[in-house]
């Protein structure tokens, strides 16, 4: 799923400080799972902004809501009868949702309330890590179900490189070597012979670039 973290509230305040009527729109999809953008987070942000405005002596209206998904028109349409009354909307969806909301209500000012980070998994509550970079042509069948693009820091298709040391990547001791993982997994499933044939050059026209990323949410971890 898409992983995001809440934006620093001072950054959001900077964007909305001149508004009188604001809507905080959460998304019940991916960003709810990583506790960055669901209804609860929308309520927290709305409450924090009301406190900010009130302590500054300003009477602003800050409402909250959450949509099933902001990456679908059918759900965005649920705002159609009320969005006009607001000066701006802070969307707590991923970048896709924020953009689709802005696209659908093209005259409305829309601000992002989260920083969208990557596609990954929940290792545990508050610890999310990257697994896929949406290269557009999945090669997991050849690599034992472990993605060298998302999990090898150099996105090498024929690894490991000389920087692999005791199962760790030279980028950081906290990053497992993606190719060591692939080797071990291919050994486990009896497909080590795949290493005898180099992976053919990959067609990158369906992809972009990037490296492995990770979220560590200390405020959620115990």
């Amino acid at each position: 799923m898409i992983k995001a973290i809440p934006k620093p509230i001072e950054e959001i305040i900077e964007n909305v400080k001149d508004c009188d009527k604001l809507l905080i729109a959460g998304c019940d999809g991916c960003v709810t799972v990583c506790e960055a953008g669901g209804l609860k987070e929308a309520k927290i942000l709305a409450s924090a902004l009301r406190l900010y405005f009130t302590q500054g002596g300003k009477q602003a209206q800050v409402d909250d809501t959450s949509l099933t998904r902001q990456c679908e028109k059918e759900y965005l349409a649920q705002l159609s009868d009320r969005i006009d009354q607001y000066d701006a909307v802070v969307s707590l969806a991923c970048g896709c949702g924020v953009q689709y909301l802005a696209e659908m209500y093209d005259k409305k000012v829309i601000y992002p309330g989260v920083d969208t980070c990557f596609m990954g998994v929940n290792e545990e509550r508050g610890l999310y890590s990257e697994r896929c970079q949406a290269c557009g042509r999945c090669i997991l069948a050849e690599t034992g179900g472990i993605c060298p693009i998302a999990r090898c820091s150099k996105r090498m298709l024929n690894g490991p490189c000389g920087g692999s040391d005791k199962g760790k990547c030279e980028v950081s001791k906290d990053v497992p070597c993606g190719w060591e993982l692939i080797y071990e997994r291919l050994k486990t499933v009896g497909q080590l012979d795949r290493f005898e044939n180099p992976t053919v050059p990959k067609d990158w026209t369906t992809s972009r670039d990037g490296g492995p990323r990770k979220i560590v949410r200390e405020d959620l971890r115990i």
């Binding site: 509230i9 305040i13 927290i44 406190l51 405020d219």
Partner: protein, 124 residues
């Protein structure tokens, strides 16, 4: 034990501090509380295992929010006590009350003139 603590404190009972949500704490400030403390069992002694550890993280997030929105994080705090520490409870309440007296009324109460509404509403 007849322990005395300041009368301007409203106690809201919850089954475990793990029940206390960030939104409950923020709501208390929205309706005009000058300060809020969350008092849970000693760490390691929560009947629901980690309720007080979750509460600690939440209180710390609320502190950060209060600092950033201009109320000041020192208006919220978390304490861990056992049920046999009534004396310490009274002491903490006195300390917090003194701290709040020094800080003065919450800017929210100053701005809106709102007094704390019914405790039931805060806890809802």
């Amino acid at each position: 034990m007849r322990l005395q603590y300041p009368p301007n404190v409203r106690i809201i009972e919850v089954p475990c501090t793990g029940k206390v949500d960030i939104n409950h704490l923020l709501m208390a400030f929205e309706v005009g509380a000058d300060g809020v403390i969350v008092v849970g069992c000693l760490e390691g002694d929560c009947h629901y295992m980690a309720g007080n550890l979750h509460a600690k993280k939440r209180v710390s997030r609320v502190k950060g929010i209060l600092d950033r929105v201009g109320l000041g994080g020192e208006r919220v705090g978390m304490y861990n006590l056992s049920s046999g520490m009534g004396g310490r409870f009274a002491e903490i309440v006195r300390e917090m009350t003194e701290k709040i007296m020094e800080l003065g009324p919450s800017p929210i109460r100053k701005a809106t003139g709102t007094a704390l509404k019914a405790a039931g509403e805060v806890a809802a």
